[in-house]
């Protein structure tokens, strides 16, 4: 169901048959950081995100999963327009971000919101929650007066299931789970079309994680807000994005993309197969079965000096000569996308087969 066309000879453009139109599209986006190493030395260029093309549809939940240093947080910051990519286009409702007028950019900034990992750092510690929540509403002129703003804030608090009395408190008086809900409330007050949630539950007590994930699912359903859920945890990614898509990143590049259930049950890329082998499952009868990691080396290469050819080849058990010299592009495979030269010849791998 996917049609793929060549895009100016650089990478591939993925056209989805999804009837919903994409609200955001990334086209061959690169984000390089320059690290100065001294006066006379050339600065090092670190490709945090390299050649990523992605569509995010209205009301979709997209999970972006990868290990630390794979560029998932940078990708999130590029999507919300906080970082200007070194190459490539970001389209919001078909319009290029870099061509937008001031007014359009203002609207874009309201429509795409970010929820960060560290809820304590994301709230001003010397302001009460009333100020943190009403401030943006008044600043953006979403309400005519304070009373109307307060009414909107109360509605948002009802949505995230926080009692109205908490408004007079300071961030340190709330628990981590409550603060994360406040961040969600602050995001939905802007009437967004898309929320980028960067590891929203990794700093929360385990017993509260499910309730935050359920809240995100509720906002997605009732307000039709699309979510980009950035995480390193496959369990929560599968839970929240069960009807959506997943994008796997490795050293700045997208290596696999597709429907969550299909990709996780039958992963195509050798890297994803290795990752899934290593994920511990909360069931002792399954988890205790011995499985060998299909990997040649466990050390992750440095992002500053990625290996030539396929970035995964030094660790890949299936690598051949072509993997060392030529970088694979994302190609359609098994109703998704996968960047691997040998994807068609690899043995079938199933999540449950050897469990």
């Amino acid at each position: 169901m996917h049609a793929i066309i060549r895009c100016q000879g650089k990478g591939l453009l993925h056209m989805n048959d999804d009837p919903r139109k994409p609200i955001m599209s990334l086209r061959n986006v690169d984000m390089y950081y320059e690290i100065k190493r001294g006066l006379l030395k050339q600065p090092a260029r670190i490709g945090a995100v390299v050649d990523v093309s992605l569509d995010i549809h209205e009301g979709e939940v997209l999970a972006v999963v990868g290990e630390s240093g794979c560029g998932k947080t940078t990708l999130g910051n590029v999507i919300i327009g906080m970082l200007k990519p070194t190459r490539g286009q970001i389209l919001y409702n078909g319009k290029d971000l870099s061509q937008m007028t001031r007014q359009e950019l203002k609207e874009f900034r309201s429509s795409v919101q970010l929820v960060q990992q560290d809820s304590y750092a994301a709230l001003n510690p010397v302001k009460t929650l009333y100020h943190s929540l009403c401030g943006p509403v008044l600043h953006k002129k979403l309400a005519r007066n304070k009373a109307e703003a307060l009414k909107m804030v109360h509605e948002a608090l009802d949505m995230v299931e926080i009692s109205h009395e908490e408004l007079d408190k300071y961030p340190h008086e709330l628990s981590g789970g409550q603060r994360q809900r406040i961040l969600m409330a602050r995001a939905i007050l802007m009437r967004p079309k898309l929320i980028v949630a960067d590891e929203p539950v990794s700093m929360i007590d385990v017993s509260l994680r499910i309730s935050i994930l359920n809240l995100m699912a509720k906002l997605n359903k009732t307000l039709n807000i699309a979510f980009v859920y950035i995480t390193h945890d496959f369990g929560t990614a599968r839970y929240i994005a069960r009807n959506g898509n997943i994008c796997i990143m490795y050293l700045g590049k997208m290596v696999e993309y597709g429907n969550v259930q299909r990709v996780l049950e039958h992963p195509s890329h050798p890297y994803l197969q290795a990752l899934l082998t290593a994920v511990p499952v909360p069931d002792p009868e399954i988890a205790k079965k011995k499985r060998n990691l299909p990997l040649k080396s466990i050390e992750m290469p440095s992002v500053a000096a990625p290996p030539p050819g396929c970035r995964f080849h030094p660790r890949c058990p299936y690598s051949v000569d072509i993997c060392e010299t030529e970088e694979p592009v994302l190609l359609e495979h098994n109703e998704g996308l996968c960047a691997c030269h040998r994807v068609k010849e690899l043995p079938q791998w199933s999540l449950r087969a050897d469990r």
Binding site: D205, I210, S211, T277, V281, E285, L295, R352
Partner: protein
């Protein structure tokens, strides 16, 4: 045959004085560490698992005070050890890998200096040339290249390598128990899997007892053969890993196990535990879990349940899961 306990904690209470009042991080806890087992101590942040582990090495911070109880290691009460005796006991009998192994290494010392310094304190007569082969073997056990690693400073190692160095380091004096406090929390899953395969190998070869502190149910299921669940300073359920997972008796343990998002779950909604973890300074009366518990009854609000045996190697502290009383959590 009754299994032998290498550590027996009895009626242990640790208090921290706070400006708002006193906080019991560990509240009348009885706990056994079976010889040769891998026991996981599971709980959320603030449940007291680290404090409980600290008492086993007698390293509770100075603001903390041990109000009652004993920690028995092979017939000696660890809490009564002093000075030189205590110094000999630590690391030689029980070693610990701390939560941030990354920062447990001295940045100004090479790995070899770390190993040698510790060795020398315990074996003052030792000859460095003679023990270096031992350092080599320990590092080879954790799949590191000793020729290279021994000369390096901590900042030259990656997170996973530092963690492996710490594992080798904890084995330096061949202790009989290792305590691992969230050993893989900051690491990626592939490195985590690898570290546990190394620990598994060490465990199989030496029969060392391990106490693993974690909040990750997936890790517990994979590594441990016994599990103890802590909530608000008390142990609420202990037992064999298969028994506890199959017949979870405490509502909190049950929720913790069933709500952990799993890679293998496809399409189920999960019911979260309502409420939030209690304030340890102002604990609810009776069972500390009762405000969040769906099965709470009158007795839960008044009386704190004691840890009771409900099956072979299966203990639980809950009024409603006891046989003949409804066994609410048994479905």
């Amino acid at each position: 045959m009754t299994p032998k306990n290498i550590i027996e904690v009895r009626d242990l209470t640790v208090e921290f004085k706070k400006p708002k009042g006193s906080l019991l991080a560990v509240n009348h806890v009885d706990f056994d560490l079976r010889e040769g087992s891998v026991t996981a101590l599971v709980g959320e942040s603030g449940s007291g698992k680290t404090t409980l582990a600290f008492t086993m090495l007698n390293i509770v911070n100075t603001t903390g005070k041990i109000l009652s109880g004993s920690v028995n290691y092979n017939g000696t009460d660890v809490l009564k050890l002093k000075g030189e005796q205590l110094r000999r006991y630590r690391w030689k009998e029980i070693s610990m890998i701390f939560q941030s192994a990354q920062s447990s290494l001295n940045p100004l010392m090479t790995i070899q200096q770390h190993f040698w310094e510790t060795y020398l304190v315990h074996e003052p007569e030792a000859d460095e040339k003679k023990v270096i082969p031992r350092f080599f073997r320990l590092l080879e056990d954790v799949m590191l290249d000793p020729d290279r690693v021994l000369k390096l400073y901590p900042h030259e190692l990656s997170g996973g390598m530092k963690q492996r160095v710490m594992i080798a380091f904890s084995m330096l004096l061949s202790p009989r128990v290792i305590i691992l406090d969230e050993p893989t929390t900051a690491l990626d899953v592939i490195t985590q899997d690898y570290i546990f395969s190394i620990l598994d190998k060490i465990h199989n070869e030496t029969g060392i007892s391990m106490l693993l502190l974690t909040h990750d149910i997936g890790v517990v299921a994979k590594v441990a053969d016994r599990i103890a669940v802590m909530y608000a300073g008390r142990i609420v359920e202990v037992g064999d890993i298969f028994t506890v997972f199959r017949h979870t008796a405490h509502p909190y343990a049950k929720a913790l196990i069933t709500t952990a998002p799993s890679l293998l779950d496809t399409d189920k909604d999960k019911e979260p535990i309502k409420g939030s973890p209690p304030d340890l300074i102002d604990l609810p009366p009776g069972c500390a879990f009762h405000p969040r518990c769906p099965y709470a009854t009158e007795v839960c609000r008044e009386k704190c349940p004691a840890l009771t045996m409900i099956g072979e190697d299966h203990y639980v502290a809950c009024h409603n899961s006891l046989p003949g009383k409804g066994a609410a959590a048994y479905e």
